[in-house]
Symmetry: C2
């Protein structure tokens, strides 16, 4: 019989735009014994997690809880619960994940209208407003931080326009939450989806979401109770049910509310992890954490520029937690990445679609966003470039980074 | 600022039909640092997990991998990928989870035909065959082990009938996999969904599935590639796409295949957990593990009967890993459960729908299925019943269980 060895992952410095290194306190939390899903100790952990999520999303929303799945499960839960077949949905696309929003909305039966921006740029407020006014969508879905291109879309002023025209505004903040400022209530965002494996430094496998009463009102109209749970006497609405059971937010709400109506079995260990990740965020403080992310970004960028490498994309909308670097002419980007991983134990990322093989992407997210990691990565990247015959003046990159810290 | 305390779950003996106690080796696996999703070390862990899942499901199927979500995510992934709107689907219902299959199939747009059995019983083979011949469904979805009633449906001979009539046979084995024999290939099952938090003793949050080439052929016809991943030149089928992106098995396949086409970010720590859980199953041996489950069931049942408690349901189809007990007249079932949890740290379950308040359910699953747990549970249940004024002869239950072990 084939022997499967003891798990023993090699040490890694993970500098991709996710998944990133997990805080050791979060790893420890996952090693605790589980509790039953209706154990009062566990439901209290569920409630605490909801409270902390509200602080993370800077919202007073009643609903803030994780969907049990990776980040796109949260996106799909929000879209499938808010989109009825035939609804017009506007998706402004400026990278891969705008296409993902489009594709999910289409599968929900939406009539999707898109506007597209050349990769590397984002939309002006006026362009977004004009598109919303022209198309009068029932829902606008937009990415806050596009890891595929390393760009960040300003959302200032968009919420009010959506509200004036009775559209719901849904924001994919998977890559930014916990690392970049995003104030759900002030920006009038109706629903926001976060990710765990990026700036929160929790493993992939949960997607925290929040939505307000405008979104909840639409969800309430589509409510359905599983027949196997009926005890008799309930009114069952059969009006336009959500086309997914797993992602039906009206059911997830009932499970996360004091009613505790059984839906799935909550993913205990992942919830332990999310709770600990949120504790770490709140202990550090949202603003302090954002400042830390900016400081290490500055050091990384200084080091990259000191190697005469060119940053990809429009600098005015650079995402603070992802740095995209154009792969120099004549250099095999994958070969450099392999050398970094195999010899240095450092992982950086390539990109998708049209940017595949054109850029490297370096994340500075969560626990991975540290002075140590930035310095080690710059030193290793310099060595890898030299090893691949690229001309540069050795030693400058790390010194430049150290200067920004000084 | 509110202080959220260090995680410190109280010790628990979890004797519900899931989630159950997690093997300490699995807990330890989750505390290891993560690897990037395309790190060769990690993709090798993915491949090993697929190999071990094939052994668990007793199949030569190419496709055997986890869906990143709780058990019903696996069910929904299989159903939404195999059911096209308008397809006729037959669901034989004999408990809550048959209703769940119905409800998910309906949300997939199926024309669902159901046959129902009184709770506490299962179908005869002839009844199933007759229904399949009468309704000629494109897909039959059935629960193998119904935890709501503690019954197990024999699947012998059903696969051949489905094959003869060109129907796909989908089996929900969430509650039985890893504890009860289930031979996917011999039984001609086209797709099987397992659960982690029951007989595998891995936390909830992943759902291992397998499906054969008949199922894969249907999935292949609906294949779609995300636009944001297109590099140019691909043929994109827009024929009847699956109404979910997250659960589209044609995409999940590409991610789990050597193509490694990016879909979600695999839930690293949960995959570590599943891999370790599967190692434990294979080290113990499938047959030895099934025998262990039967041995502890026998001891539990002997103890329960020694207290003159009545077992619920048809004994000939009792699930070996769940024991349902009728709550005696005049006893408040929830009060007994609360006493067990609060004073003894032992959790047993109630049930759903029409059985709510009528029965207790005790699981003997995975790591929780041990002599120690059975003896402690019987002793505590006896004490709780005495405390609630129930008449019984003290001491008999534990002695009866010890006798079966002797």
């Amino acid at each position: 019989m084939k022997v499967y060895k003891d798990l023993s992952p090699s040490p890694r410095t993970i500098m991709t735009p996710g998944p990133v290194e997990v805080d050791p306190r979060v790893l420890r939390a996952m090693s605790f014994p589980i509790l039953g899903q209706f154990d009062p100790e566990f439901t209290s952990i569920m409630n605490e997690t909801m409270e902390m999520l509200r602080k993370l999303f800077v919202t007073e929303n009643e609903w803030a809880f994780p969907v049990d799945g990776t980040s796109r499960s949260g996106i799909e839960a929000v879209l499938v619960s808010l989109i009825e077949p035939g609804d017009k949905v506007l998706v402004p696309i400026y990278g891969r994940f705008g296409h993902l929003l489009t594709e999910i909305a289409q599968r929900c039966g939406a009539e999707v209208v898109t506007i597209e921006k050349e990769w590397g740029f984002v939309f002006d407020k006026e362009e977004l407003v004009a598109a919303i006014r022209t198309h009068r969508p029932k829902l606008v879905a937009i990415v806050h931080g596009e890891t595929s291109t390393g760009r960040m879309q300003s959302l200032e002023g968009i919420g009010q326009v959506c509200r004036d025209l009775d559209a719901l505004l849904v924001v994919d903040a998977v890559a930014t939450i916990g690392g970049v400022a995003l104030e759900t209530d002030r920006l009038l965002l109706d629903a926001v989806i976060g990710g765990t494996q990026k700036c929160l430094s929790v493993p992939a496998g949960m997607s925290p979401i929040t939505y307000n009463s405008r979104a909840a009102a639409k969800i309430a109209k589509r409510k359905k109770i599983e027949r196997g749970l009926l005890t008799g006497g309930e009114e069952e609405s059969l009006l336009r049910p959500v086309q997914s059971n797993y992602f039906d937010l009206s059911m997830l709400q009932d499970y996360w509310s004091s009613a505790r109506l059984n839906h799935h079995t909550e993913a205990t260990s992942m919830l332990y992890a999310l709770r600990e990740g949120l504790r770490l965020v709140l202990e550090e403080g949202l603003e302090q954490r954002q400042a830390r992310h900016k400081a290490h970004e500055a050091a990384l960028v200084a080091g990259v520029q000191a190697m005469d490498l060119r940053l990809y994309g429009d600098a005015s909308c650079k995402m603070p937690v992802v740095t995209c670097i154009e792969i120099p002419e004549g250099i095999d980007g994958e070969s450099v990445r392999n050398l970094l991983l195999q010899d240095f134990g450092i992982e950086i990322a390539s990109s998708f679609g049209v940017l595949k093989g054109k850029i490297w992407r370096i994340g500075t997210m969560g626990y991975s966003c540290s002075k140590r990691n930035v310095l080690l990565t710059l030193g290793a990247l310099e060595a890898a470039l030299l090893r691949h015959g690229h001309k540069l003046e050795a030693g400058l990159a790390v010194q430049a980074a150290l200067n920004t810290y000084a």
